[in-house]
Structure formats: C-alpha cells, structure tokens
Subunit: 507 residues, 2 copies
C-alpha cells in the first residue's frame, strides 16, 4: 500500500464542514522556557555512563530473538548464547545516528507533535486492564471504556496525544484487539497515537493502518506511530518486544526504549545502581534500533519506581523515583536523545488525596526536567492496573497548570508593570488599573474544574468533593463529544483492512 | 528577669524520667544536598533588584508608626508624611548586618533548628479561624483544637517546629489569647515556636515567657522566638506589626518580614511586577529591623498567590505562585538572607484530590528551592481559613518524602551496587542479594500512612479513602500522646506570669 486513498471533492467539502463543527480547543505543546531541572552533577552522570558501558561490555544484555541476534552480530556486536556484549565505541557510534528530535504526524496536521528538544508532549495512561469511576467502582475495562478515554483525550486541550492502550478492552479478542484500538484512535480523535507492540504481526498491522491513513512515503519522512518497547529488566529483551521493535525500526516508526524497573526487585536496591543498569539496557535497545535502520526516531525511556522491600509492593510517587526521573533526563540529554518518563503515578486505588499527592510528586519533576514524552500523564491509578475516569480529567487540570509553569517569568516592561506599582497608593488596589485591564483575561491560568468559590457558595452548591465535580465533567464531556472529521473513503479502507485481518486470524 | 528559674535535683530526676517515657522520633532537618532549583537567570534577578531599589527611592514605603519613622529618620532614611524613601546604598548596608543563618532555640536542645543556608525547617499552618475534620465538617477553632494541633506537630517526625497561631482559639478572649497559645506550645511540645505579633504588648509578653523559659541572656545569643511580620501590600507596614517588629528586634528575636500579596489585587497582575513590589517591601522591613538592632536575625519572606481576576477569589497552588516562590528564593540568596515561603497551599475546602494536587504544586518547589522556613507545611485548607486535621497528617507524609528527596543521589560504591548488577542473571531478581539485605531497612523511604496494599486487601479492609485512614491516624496519635517533660518550677513560673497578665488585662 503505497499511497493514501484518493479523496473525492465531495468528501473534502464534508471534511471541511465537519472540521468547523467539531473544532475543540487545543493548547500548543509546552516548550520549556525555564532552566532544565538537574539533580546530579556532571561527574555523577559520567560515572553512571562509564559504569553502564562496563555492564554492556562485560555482562551484556540478553536478546531472545534469533533475527535480532543475527542483526547485532552483523553490526559488530559480540554474541554468546543469547547474550550480546557491546563495546562502548560501537554503542556510542550507533546512538549518534538517531535524531535529537522529530515530528510525529497527527491526522489533523495542526496536532502533529514535536518529540525532543525542549518540547513536552502529554499522553494518557497506558495499559490498565481495569477502569474506575466513583459510581461503579473498579471493573474490567471494555472497548466502550477505551473509546470513552479516546474521546476525553481528544476533547482535552492539555493532552497532545491520544496514547496507545489507554485501557485493555478485555471484552474483545486478544489477537485482534490492537485493530479495534488503532481504529478507535483514528476514528474518535485526530491527535497522534501509538502502535501495538504485542508482536511483530501487530506492529506490521499498525504500520499498514498508518500507511492507509497517511501514505507509505509520508510516514518514512516523519513517523505516524510511536510505540512503547519495554525491556524486561534485568538485562533482557523478549521475542515479542524485539519482533515489534524490528518491525517498527524497519518502517522508520518511532520507538521508545524503556527498561521497566521496580527497583529493589528488578534492579539493585538503590537509585544509582538502578540507573547504571537502566542506562545499559536502554542503550542496548537504542543502539539495536539504529542497527536495524539508521536514523530511526528513538526515545530514551525510563520507567522506574521502587518496591517496598518489606512487602514487595510497588510504591509510586516515591522520592527515589523522582530522583531517578530527573537524573535519567540528564542521561538522555547527554546522548542527545529525546526522553520519555514521568506521569501521574500513584499506588492509590481511587482518586483521593494520596493519588493526587503522589501524582504531582512525579509529574512536576517530569515537567521541570523537560521530559519530552510523558506517557501516563492522565488517568493512572493503582500502580497502573486501573484507569480512573475522574482521575483522568483531574490530572489534566494539573497539566494545564504545567503549560503555564513552563513559560517561566515574563520580565518584559509589561511584565514589570512599573507604572502600576508607582500609581497605586498604599490604600489602593490593582483590580482596575489600566495594566490589569490590559492583562486580566490571560495573565493568570484558571483551571476550569477546580473549585475556588467561597465556602458558603461551595456549601450551597452541595459541598462537592472534587471527585464529584470531575464525575460531572466526564459525563458532560462525553455527552458533548463530536467526532473530528474523517474522510469516509479512508474510513472504509481502514475498516476493510481490519475486516480482512480479523478473518485471517479467525475473529 | 535575667536567669531561668533554678531547678531542684528532684525536678531534674523527674525530667530525665519523663524524657525517656515521652521520647518521640524526630527526623533531622533536611539539608539540601541537591542543587538549588532556579527559574530566573541572573539578569532577571538583577533587573528585579534594580527596579525594586527605584521603587524604594522614588515612591517609598509607608510606616504607620511614629516611633518607627523616628528610627528610620535617625538612620538616614528620608521620611515625608508616613512615607519612607530609601536610598539603595543605605538599604544594602543595613541588610548586610543581618546573619545569613541562625539557630532558633527549642526547650529540648536536640530540637533547636537552623534557619538559613541549605537547611529546611517545616512548621504547621498558621492563622486559620476554622478547623475541619471529616466527621464534623468545618467549625470554629477552639483552644482544644489548638492544643490538639500542637500535640500532632510534636508527635510528627517531619515537622521541626511547633509554629505559631496554628489555629485561632476563638473560644478564648482576644487580648489574652496569645498567652494561652504560647503556654500550649511550651507545655505540650518541646519544639521551637513563634511569638505573637498582634501588638507591641503581645510581643513583649512573648519575649518575657521566652526569658522565663531560657533566661534573658541566652535568648540574646540565639533567638527563642521567630515571628511573622506581614507587610500590608501595597507598600505599607501598619502600627500593630511595627510595634511587634520593633519589640522583637530590640530583644534580638527573629522576625520574618513577609509582604502578604494576592497578585492582581495587592500588586500588579503579573509575576515580575509583583516580585519588584514584594522585594521593595521586604527590603524596607528588613533594613528597618537592622536599624533597630544590628545583627537581629531576620528572614526574607514571600507569601504570594494570585487572585482569579474574574471573581477576585484567591487561587492557591497556581503556577504563577510557583514561579514567584522559586524566584523569590533566588532574591533572598542574592541578599544572603534566610528565606521563608511555600507551604501546602490549596483553595479546596476539604482534603480532597484538588487540595493534594495544589499542595504539592507549591510544596515541592519550596523544597527544591531550598526554602529555609516553610510555614503552612501541614494542615492548610480553604485559602488558609481552615486547618484540616486529616490534611495535617497527610501533608506530613509528603514532608517525609521531601526529607528523602533532599538527600539526592548516592553515587558511592554501595549506591552503585555493581556487584549486584553483575551477579543477578536476566531471569533473576534482586530481592535476596547481599546488597539488598544490607540496605533493605533504610534504602527506600516508606510513608507510614499511605496505602500500598494490593487491591483485594485494601477492599477487604474497607476500601478506605486516605481521608478515613488519616482520620484514624489523628485519633490514634492524640490517644497515644504523652507530654514532653517540663520542669514544674518553670511551669509554675509561666503560669504565674500568665495569671498576672490576665488580671492586668481584665480576663
């Protein structure tokens, strides 16, 4: 499939009309105007780098895939059994072939995103098999929930991305679920989305659907897919992930290489040791992607929290995970690569104060450290097992605040407002000054959903907990949802492909 | 009163015994081992400095107190009417007389605190006339509530300070309320506390009680009191605050000079203009304190949030307040002064997710920026109108996390754990390694109250919201409370003084 389906004049007109109807507000991606937050000094970063190079050369990383090991060998990596041993020079040479930043296409061109540099991109939670809302509690996620979350992400101005497996639609067959998810992202949103990584075949399906949507040539220039390749720490890449990784790299689609680490169990009990291991693992995967296809857009990923060593339970939002996140961002910058980490992490089962405390404890450092791609930026609950409806829209309010925070201090003459300082006397106020009148609509960020009313008004209106306000907001958003325009010919072509693939796999 | 009341041998024995009984765990003050977070570049800081010097010289600050204006005049400040005009050189010369850091005494010497440098000191909420708990909702604060909060702060390892007016005990007479509060801080805690700032007379009472407790000479060496002098922005210090400030400075007790600003109303609609005004106001108060008594310990304070310019309502936890906080910390460092700001701020009426999001949005930057004295570090609700019982203990959990965060990355050989990385194979785990066994008790911070249990266990135990868990924790703490030892002779002397003052003022 080498070109997009031709569009008729009629469908183009319809598309324009629908576009006008369905326009939803979208905030531009934040571009960090404030200094990048750093925790470790240069010596510490170089130490971690050197030690991880030792690990790569001396104990290596396991690749559980024949083809992958053959590719590694062909590019000068020493392979013994399943284990690949990387010389430092080789790793650095291949890493250097990756772009420092790239554009991921959205089917609404205004919503294509920049991944890298000082750009932040916020994407929804990924992977939960359960959903939670305050009316029904926790239950298994269904395709209907998946579609709901795609709609909520589409409607939210502070999410720049539709994400991937926002929830696992457990009511659909496992081996064709990815087709339903990809179609839902395309149909119900016009923001960029992620590919399936369950196998090489699923990755190939994802690429084909992207080719139908954009044309095969176009997606080789700029990726249409970004996909999450997890490394099974300690020190191994499994066959399914490697199959997907190889497929995406061949098609020049972006991959995020992320060691998935619960420190203390899957890595040493401590942050520095964990970062050494993570860095070795990530670099192995990143270098491999560049061996498959030099120049493939890649993202250095870190997903690290620690376990409670007494119970083995994960502890999200921990101070150790904050330190790991900020230091990992420094490592990614050292290699001149885009970076993925962070998210609104919590171990809480419901969208309560614990959930909110823990979420900001990781999300704020992610914004400060200039994380380029923040997966799980809205909706995460219960160690990632659950996607919360209310949590999703509440988290997005904080993302809005971070958009403003990233802009930093305006020290222009208008920002200094000297004439107002001079003209308002000690018994006066600034509410009606010309400066305030010029600036009042935009100068302060106003979260739409958070409550700032006086106590009496709040009490009169039912003394609502933010859960309840968020629940109302979810219902209102879904009721008001209008789909973005999609060329019916493209829609037909996508459905035709999906039907064919479902037949082939017996669903 | 020049010496502490003499202690009998019997009372000393009793004190030792009680001390052993009542020992509660206390975490050391965090000392920031990570880089200080900065948002503004040096040019921006110098610009704010220069512009605030212009404001001081050209429009000045009002001092509504005859004696204060006389002191200013005597030290070379130009005074016209109520307004004092400061020359830049004069301001900088007096600011330079203040210590960069100092020790505030606690009656348990192990709990004296360092204010300045890279030390953080966390103190409870200050000033609310209401309390909130999930059982009774919001109601007027009473002395019983005040005592409860003193006990909770005493028991909490992550609060280093007993604070001041944790709540307004509205059931006690206004003109002697300060005596009951001071006595409660001394009686029910052994952490340092704050003085009353309602008037010069109240400040003098506070100083006398500190003299009874420590001796008059001792508190001239290191202050026993730290007190919150608010500037009524824009550009004025009222007579009550000036009376208290002058009294404390004469007694060499520490004062925090804080412009209290709701930006957009009490300062320009914008952060840079607000900081220019704040800096002028703070420097005027700080220089004045040094004119009263050179070398008086002072703290540069910032308390800034913005109003919603459509409704006039304060918006705590806003991104604008984060930027103001971090930049203000840079200003205080420029003048080599200890800095006060931050806190677990929120506009929410209850300890819900909004409260928690907003709280961390200000508290985490406060820790990152190395704020030396964080008032309102636990318990704040509803724009500071309400102290929340559950919020108090929940906030303190986050303070615990910040203690760990402040320590940064351990890159020692033990932190690197190379032998563990080498020895655990790809299908293994780190849970039982010698490295983990050596480190598992202390390597990861474990919040005591937050829930990390599996969903099933959590559901079986009642599917408790963190509100409910925190409510249980409050009750348990208050039930288990044991007072720290207090020499009965000192206790008698304090009560005698209080009785005398109550008689004198007709209560």
């Amino acid at each position: 499939m080498n070109s997009p389906v031709r569009r008729s004049a009629r469908s183009q007109r319809r598309e324009r009309h629908q576009k006008e109807l369905a326009t939803v507000r979208q905030a531009a991606q934040p571009v960090l105007k404030i200094p990048v937050y750093r925790l470790a000094n240069e010596e510490a970063i170089e130490l971690i780098h050197r030690q991880s190079m030792k690990v790569l050369a001396e104990v290596g990383i396991d690749f559980y895939d024949d083809e992958a090991r053959a590719i590694l060998k062909a590019h000068g990596v020493e392979v013994r059994g399943d284990t690949a041993f990387f010389e430092p020079g080789l790793v650095e040479a291949y890493i250097a072939k990756a772009p420092a930043r790239f554009t991921q296409l959205a089917r609404n061109p205004n919503r294509s995103v920049t991944i890298g540099g000082r750009h932040l991109c916020f994407a929804p939670v990924y992977g939960p098999p359960f959903v939670y809302d305050i009316e029904f509690g926790r239950r298994e996620a269904r395709l209907e929930d998946f579609v709901n979350f795609v709609k909520l992400a589409y409607q939210n101005p502070y999410l720049h991305h539709s994400g991937g497996t926002i929830v696992e639609p457990t009511d659909t067959p496992v081996n064709t679920r990815h087709l339903d998810m990809l179609y839902s992202h395309i149909k119900y949103s016009d923001k960029p989305f992620m590919g399936s990584v369950m196998s090489a075949a699923n990755a190939a399906d994802s690429v084909t659907m992207a080719e139908i949507l954009y044309g095969a040539d176009k997606i080789r220039q700029n990726p249409a897919l970004i996909s999450l390749i997890n490394i099974s720490s300690p020190r191994r890449l499994d066959d399914r992930m490697l199959g997907a990784l190889t497929t995406y790299a061949r098609a020049r689609q972006a991959v995020i290489i992320t060691p998935f680490i619960m420190a203390g169990a899957m890595s040493p009990a401590g942050v520095a040791g964990t970062l050494i291991q993570q860095n070795a693992e990530a670099l192995a995967g990143l270098a491999y992607a560049q061996m498959v296809q030099p120049g493939t857009p890649v993202v250095y990923g870190s997903f690290m929290t620690n376990v409670d060593l007494k119970s083995g339970a994960p502890m999200f939002g921990s101070p150790e995970s904050q330190i790991a996140l900020v230091t990992s961002a420094q490592l990614a910058r050292r290699y001149n690569l885009p970076f993925r980490s962070g998210g609104m992490f919590t171990s809480s089962k419901m969208p309560d104060a614990q959930a909110a405390y823990e979420s900001v404890m990781t999300m704020l450092p992610a914004a400060q450290a200039g994380v380029n791609f923040v997966l799980h930026a809205a909706g995460w609950l219960e160690n990632g097992l659950t996607a919360g409806y209310e949590k999703f829209v509440m988290d997005a309010e904080v993302l809005g605040m971070l958009h403003k925070f990233a802009r930093g201090l305006d020290v222009s003459a208008e920002g200094q407002a000297m004439e107002s300082i001079y003209s308002v006397p000690p018994d006066g106020h600034h509410l009606g000054t010309p400066h305030t009148m010029r600036n009042f609509r935009t100068i302060f960020h106003r979260p739409a959903m958070f409550d700032y009313n006086p106590f009496e008004q709040w009490a009169e209106e039912g003394a609502k907990d933010i859960y309840r306000i968020a629940n109302d907001k979810v219902k209102q958003s879904l009721a008001e949802y209008q789909p973005p325009p999609l060329d019916p010919a493209l829609d037909d072509a996508l459905q035709e492909f999906i039907d064919k693939r479902k037949l082939e796999t017996g669903n």
